[in-house]
Structure formats: C-alpha cells, structure tokens
C-alpha cells in the first residue's frame, strides 16, 4: 500500500520544489531595483485611485447554491463505488440506486422549483 503511494509522494516533493524554485528565482532575479512608489503599489482599478477600498466583507450571492453543491457532491461520490460494483450487484444495485436517485430527484426538483439554482437571488 505504501509503495503504491510512494511515487506520488516523490512526485509531490519534486513538484513542490519546482514551485518554490520558480518562486525563488523570480524573487531573486526580479527584485525591485529601487524603492517602489506608493502609486505603483496601489491595487489596479482602471487607472483611478480607488476612493473606496475593498472592505473585509463582500456579499456572495450564490452561497445557497454552494451549499447545495456540497450536499449533492457528497451524494455524487456515493455513485462511484456503486458504479464499480454494478456488475456484481446487477438488478439489486439498479433498484437500490433507482430508489436513491428518486429521493435525490425529489430534492432536486424541490430546489429547482424554489428557484435555488438562480444565480443572483
């Protein structure tokens, strides 16, 4: 089991080194030659000095969809083992999953009807 994941660990380590390497090289080579002015360090806002800075809070309109996503995503994961084992489960698996999807479908239809998938609500 460990040997199965060892290559991934090696690969991960090398990838990480590459990332740090790029970052480090850029920091060393691209170090600012002189003091950067205040204007230069301003966040870009189409050439205008922003009168209003970005606040710590920002309204995310789609948080409801995001929560739905979490729920449905967990459901979706349960499809994977089922799909792999389908050849053994056969009709039993089909019936089982049919029931599962039915329950899921009711929830899905309910959310759709309530306008849960609207972008901006």
């Amino acid at each position: 089991m460990l040997t199965l994941y060892l290559p991934i660990v090696i690969y991960f380590t090398i990838s990480l080194l590459v990332c740090f390497g790029i970052m480090g090289a850029s920091r060393v080579i691209g170090r600012p030659k002189r003091q950067q002015s205040v204007a230069k360090l301003q966040p870009y806002e189409s050439g205008i000095v922003p009168e209003v800075q970005l606040g710590p809070k920002f309204s995310i309109k789609f948080y409801l969809v995001a929560m739905l996503f979490l729920i449905f995503d967990v459901e979706a994961v349960s499809f994977y083992p089922w799909a792999v084992l389908m050849r053994q489960l056969r009709l039993y698996g089909l019936a089982e999953m049919g029931l599962f999807i039915l329950v899921l479908g009711i929830g899905y239809a309910y959310v759709w009807k309530r306008g849960g998938f609207q972008w901006d609500r």
Partner: protein, 329 residues
Amino acid sequence: MALTVGIDIGKALLVIIFLQAAFGYLTLIERKLLGRFQLRPGPNRAGPFGLLQPLADGVKLLFKEEIIPAGVDRFVFLIAPMLSLLGALMAFAVIPFGSPVHIFGRLVPLQIAGPSLSLLYVFAVASLGVYGIVLGGWSSQNKYGLLGGLRSSAQIISYELAMGLSVIGVLLAAGSADLNQIVSAQTREWFVFPQIVGFIVYFICAIAETNRAPFDLPEAEQELVAGYHTEYTGMKFAMFFMAEYINMITVSALATTLFLGGWHGPAILPSYLWFLIKVAIFLFVFVWLRATLPRLRYDRLMAFGWKVLLPVALLNAIGTAAWVALVHP
C-alpha cells in the same frame, strides 16, 4: 528498492519537465493557431517559425520586477499561484500515458502511480487548483481580482457535479475506477461511442474546469480586465498561466484515457505517441473554441450546469447502469 525509487524519481522528473515544455509550446501553438484563425501570422520573430518564443517569454517573465501591492495578505498572495500550479501538476500523476516499457529488465508502467481509485484521485486533486485562483483573487485586494476569484468558485460549483457524474457511465462499462483497467477495457471499442452523452458532458465541463473560452469568466478580459491574476506579475502570473495550460493537458489526457482508448492504437506508432496525438486533438479543439465562441453570461452558466448538464449526466448514468444490469453478460 533503490532502483524502484530511482525509476520513480526519473519518471517524476520526466513528467514535470515534459509538462513544462508542453505548456511552453502549447502557448506557442495556441498563438500560432489563433493567428491563423484571425488572418495574421502569429509569433514568428524569435527563432525559426517563432519556435524560441516560449523561451523568450519565460526569460522575460523571469526578469519582470516583482510587485506585491500594498495591503495584500502576503502569505496567501504568494501561496496562491503555487497552490494552483501544484494542483495542476499533481492531477497528472495517475494518468497512464503509454504501455508499460522495459527498463533495466523491469516492466515499468508509464504512469507515476496507479492507485485503484485513480479516477477519483484526479478529480479530487484537480479541483484543489481552484483554491489557488480563489485565494489569489481574494488576497490581492483588487476588486477585479475578487470578482474573478468568486466567479471561479461559482463556476466550480456549477460544473464539478456534472463532471463527476458524466464519467459514471465509463466506470459502469469498465467495472473499475482504475485508469489502467479503464484503458484496457477499451482495447476493442472506445468508450466514446457507447458513452457519447457522457463524453459531451465531460468535455463541456472540462472546458469550464480549465476556465477556457467560452467559460473563461474568471479572467474575462472584457469584463474583469484580467480577473483573479490582475495584480500578479512576472513568474507568479506565469504560474497561474502554467496551471491553466497544464490543466488543459490533464483534462485532455483524462478525456483520452476515459473515452478515446488511452494509449491504445495501431502498432505502427509507439503507444505514448498515440496518446500524445489524441491529447493534441483535444488541445486543438480547445484553441478552436476560443477562436470562435463568444463568452457565456454568468447566470446562464450556473443554470446550464445545474439544469441541463446535471440531469443529462444523471440520466446517462442510470441508462448505462440499466444496460449493465440487464444486458451486459
């Protein structure tokens, strides 16, 4: 043991170098192709046919002055591009890119690692990359960046579900979530034919996953200037860029593996070349779409993901399941 580790390190280096080089030349090919689509020659100054252009770009970006805007969350700001690139590189780890080869008398699979749930691994790791985008946009204290980062997260909650479900048909048909077994299940027939619906849903989601046109909302130039990477300069910007292109390669490679029979092909060419050719076809389609299609609007995107792609993918899964349960020998 030492030899195994040595081979593993060798393979890891090979894949990483290959991905970097592929990224560089993919940008060149994209610009060349876009040029042709748009009645212009594309880059042709650096080296013959512009072949040294990626190198020139890399050197230029490396020498760019590093700017960290005032008031940013430094740690998150710096970690975000690395997260993005790391996610992109890691996702490629389980993709088999050729038939096993003999090295030092040993049969070595052309794949970094092959866990039995490798498909799940790809999805899990690939979606981590979005954190880089969201955090990068959020931490840079830029309004365009913030909007871009949020769009990215909105996009992933619209598409990932359908993407995950679109491949269920393949799992059912192959009876395994191991990419190697999925490939060997396609020796006779590619899954793209029985699973055409799943394939289409997967490909649409893949475009959305990689933030490519027409789903390039997080970096929609005409709307958000540069979106999440507005404040990033030099190599930090390049890392986001790399991540995007390597993700493109990964989703194309996965599409090849799941639907186009992976590295299988007539023996006239080595297996990894077949694999490359198939991936290249997908990459061409990516560029072609970018040259042709206008961008989707935002709310349409979410509605499309939830109300069209999700039910279609689900129905496809059920249909395939019924076929496996009732017809399959």
